[in-house]
Amino acid sequence: MNKHRTQNLSKLALALALALEGRGLGNVAPSTVSFFLANKEGSKVNAKFELKPPPYSLNALEPIMSQRTLEYHWGKHHRSYVDNLKKQVVGTELDGKSLEDIIITSFNKGDILPAFNNAAQVWNHDFFWECMKPGGGGKPSGDLLALIERDFGSFEKFSDEFKAAAATQFGSGWAWLAYKSSKLGVGNAVDPIPLEEDNKLVVLKSPNAVNPLVWGAFYPLLTIDVWEHAYYLDFQNRRPDYISVFMDKLVSWDAASSRLEQVKALIA
């Protein structure tokens, strides 16, 4: 069931690694490389479940996202997902599998197994840190902007849709910009937006730890964490303010663009 997906992820890993190397972007998305490389190697090694630091210092997103928030969010929440995952997989059939394989296997067609929440949250947070950068925000450029304009009508329309998805995710969860490719499903879940055409950008939201990997055909380019712990110390109940300022001042469009390049290389 997962073979097809694994092969695709492996291709993605390779493409991503090559592209990052070629572009000298090693500092932009280092752990994204290791996610996918881990998968490519088929992986007998388990040492990769480690707490990866964000690619900037913990005070680098001040005053928008405070050092205090990152000390808890990365230093406590993310850390406990990693620690708990390690404990959960030791001595089980998941031991030795890559993070992506654990996520897809333990999603178990929606009837989730115990390791899913921790595994997916480790992946989500690694991904999320790279979606931000000091002095971020603004608009993407190049192919990503062109695709956004093609698939949403304009950058502003995309931005409104993304913000609305993040604001209306009931309870804890995530909003995503993802590339929906064609029919690569892992047979793991129902297509969340079956009426959409394939091979286009889409906005999605997901509850709790769920991420687009479980849907198979979706390649995430950007995410925002809308668990309350992501913004409560800085914004309290004002989730919409957090979402707006994330878009205006934090988003790393470089990281999203480099992910798009990898997806294109993969599915070409």
């Binding site: 406990s80 929440n117 009931f170 309870g171 804890s172 969860g173 668990w227 309350e228 110390l233 309290q236």
Partner: protein, 251 residues
Amino acid sequence: MAAARALFTRKTLPSSSSMLRNPKPFMATALTSASTTTTHTRGLQTFTLPDLAYDYGALEPAISGEIMQLHHQKHHQTYVTNYNKAIEQLHNALAKGDASTAVKLQSAIKFNGGGHVNHSIFWKNLTPTREGGGEPPHGSLGWAIDTHFGSLEALIQKVNAEGAALHGSGWVWLGLDKELKRLVVETTANQDPLVTKGASLVPLLGIDVWEHAYYLQYKNVRPDYLKNIWKVINWKYASEVYEAESSESTA
């Protein structure tokens, strides 16, 4: 439009006149507490934020005044506002015979209506320590807890364990299953009310484990919040609901 109004009035929003006729005045207050704070606008019954029976700072040090104020004035208010919006949209959709809009509104109604119902119960589940908060239940509820869980301490441990294990946002409940006549501990996700876990379940005690309920004070350490909240739990209220519901179920 009349049909829509009748549906609301009969099924979900008992009118104040029917409450006055209710032979069990306590139950009217306890279980339809939301209806005590309704107002009528253009023929549609809407909701307002209920007052708390204590000051925001009165639950300190178990729960800080800052948390209580934000939780009540901002979070609960938002559920009330959005629930009112959703039922007004539903009202209009039903009046126009627009079934697909009516269906589309269900998730917002469940989330925001559930948020209002759950928080209205939660405020009653709390009381300052100096006014009896944390004082163990006596009478039939105390006896039932011992019977079903072994002891109050065992129940507290079970609630704390299930509340801590809930991934994401939600609630942990002590409920009465009126059909099986037994106490149950259940969790619900997001703002799902206890009744979503079974039509015969009545909430006696609900603890909010959304991060907004504890984050400013306890940060990531939800178990400490759960440990401390028992110092301000209003067991008298839970006992009264239990007794009223138990006698009703055997009547």
